[in-house]
């Protein structure tokens, strides 16, 4: 069973279909599977529902799929920073389901963990609770949220071994592990594929069982808000 593919196009071959649900890792432009998103753009798959914390920016990240109008619906917690997104949303071309950020992360984790529903305080008494079951536990109200299972997960990691074990770097980890677990198929884009046995088995963030296909590749890592201090301030 070889998991390593030569490029994003071949790694996605046979996994894309119109109307599918894709879960993507990444927070803002940090830790996003840019090459896989570009390959989905090139494949032209339509009417996508995409579960991702953010919707990228114009021309980068999921912004690539918004520009081509391949996305029918976003499931996200925060969609600022994307003028084309707002245009499509306000004109009714794009559906949007807001999920609180922690609820979205937990929905992905639950979907991957065989948990079809869980209760959370988050959103009780807000529009997020509309239409959802409310249950009282020990005197406090909670709402039922559903596990999210995607047809495909796309994630970005730092390193992988050929068995699909993944390791992430700093805050580029973010939604990638829960997204990886919730896909019926998971394709990972990594900066470096290292030989089997060279990762510390105590230090694997996503075990290879979750990862079906792998590519090695690099893309420019963009910074949304470059904030610095001057050396003199030290």
């Amino acid at each position: 069973m070889k998991k390593v593919y030569p490029d994003a196009k071949s790694a996605l071959d046979g996994q894309l279909f119109d109307g599918m649900l894709i879960a993507s890792g990444g927070f803002g432009l940090c830790g996003i599977p840019e090459l896989l998103i570009a390959a989905i753009r090139d494949a032209g798959t339509k009417d996508l529902t995409v579960a991702s914390n953010n919707a990228g920016v114009d021309g980068a990240g999921l912004g690539q799929l918004l520009a081509t109008r391949q996305v029918k619906k976003m499931i996200s917690s925060y969609v600022g920073e994307n003028a084309e997104f707002m245009r499509q949303y306000l004109s009714g071309e794009l559906e949007l389901e807001f999920n609180p950020q922690g609820t979205l992360a937990e929905r992905m984790r639950a979907g991957g963990a065989g948990i079809p529903g869980f209760y959370t305080k988050t959103g009780v008494g807000t529009v997020i609770a509309d239409g959802k079951e409310v249950k009282n536990f020990d005197g406090q109200d909670y709402i039922l949220e559903r596990g999210l299972v995607a047809d495909l997960s796309i994630v970005k990691a730092w390193k992988a071994d050929p068995s699909g074990n993944l390791v992430f770097r700093k805050t580029a980890r973010n939604f990638n592990p829960p997204a990886a677990t919730c896909g019926r198929v998971c394709v990972a884009e990594v900066e470096e594929i290292v030989p089997l046995g060279s990762l510390n088995p105590d230090m694997i963030h996503v075990p290879g069982i979750y990862v079906h296909r792998l590519i090695q590749g690099s893309h420019e890592k963009r910074i949304e808000n470059r904030t610095t201090r001057k050396r003199e301030e030290a």
Binding site: T126, T171, R229
Partner: protein, 208 residues
Amino acid sequence: MWDRNQMAERAAQELQDGWYVNLGIGIPTLVSNYIPEGIEVTLQSENGMLGMGPFPYEGEEDADLINAGKQTITELPQTAYFDSAQSFAMIRGGKIAMAILGAMEVAENGDLANWMIPGKLVKGMGGAMDLVAGVGRVVVVMDHTSKHGESKVLKSCTLPLTGKAVVNRIITNLGVLDVVPGGLQIVECADGVTEAELRAATEATIIN
């Protein structure tokens, strides 16, 4: 009347030694500049980090190291990284002692609105709904009134809520108020602000 930095400085007085704290975007971010001597707090960034350090020196920015406002930051010796599910597990699970957040409106029963203005641009709640539902104590830092002079401290919120009955304390440019049974209680007035001025700028019921 307090300016942004004075509000942040006052909010920093809320911190206690050993606490894990989440600071929102805007004025709350400035709170980290005023952490009192002898008080050690660990800052959580909900995109997956405990132990958030200051901005990097110019030229040392790392695209893989950002905070929830997508700003480049640095790590500290005690830093730990984790994924978003784990990050919100600790938020929802009550492990964060306090969140200091901005707001559009606060009501006298502790309702908070800070994520959406219907009909205008809708950016989303991000992690705010999870934070106000999960953390031990919610402190709001905001201007007491809108640009048009209307009170943002209300009998009830007019905007869609971020959380219901979640705010514990409100710190504004005019003073500090606590949410207590029956309404708000004045804790202190800002420098040069009289209690009468604070009351006049507040729509919510003040019970003391």
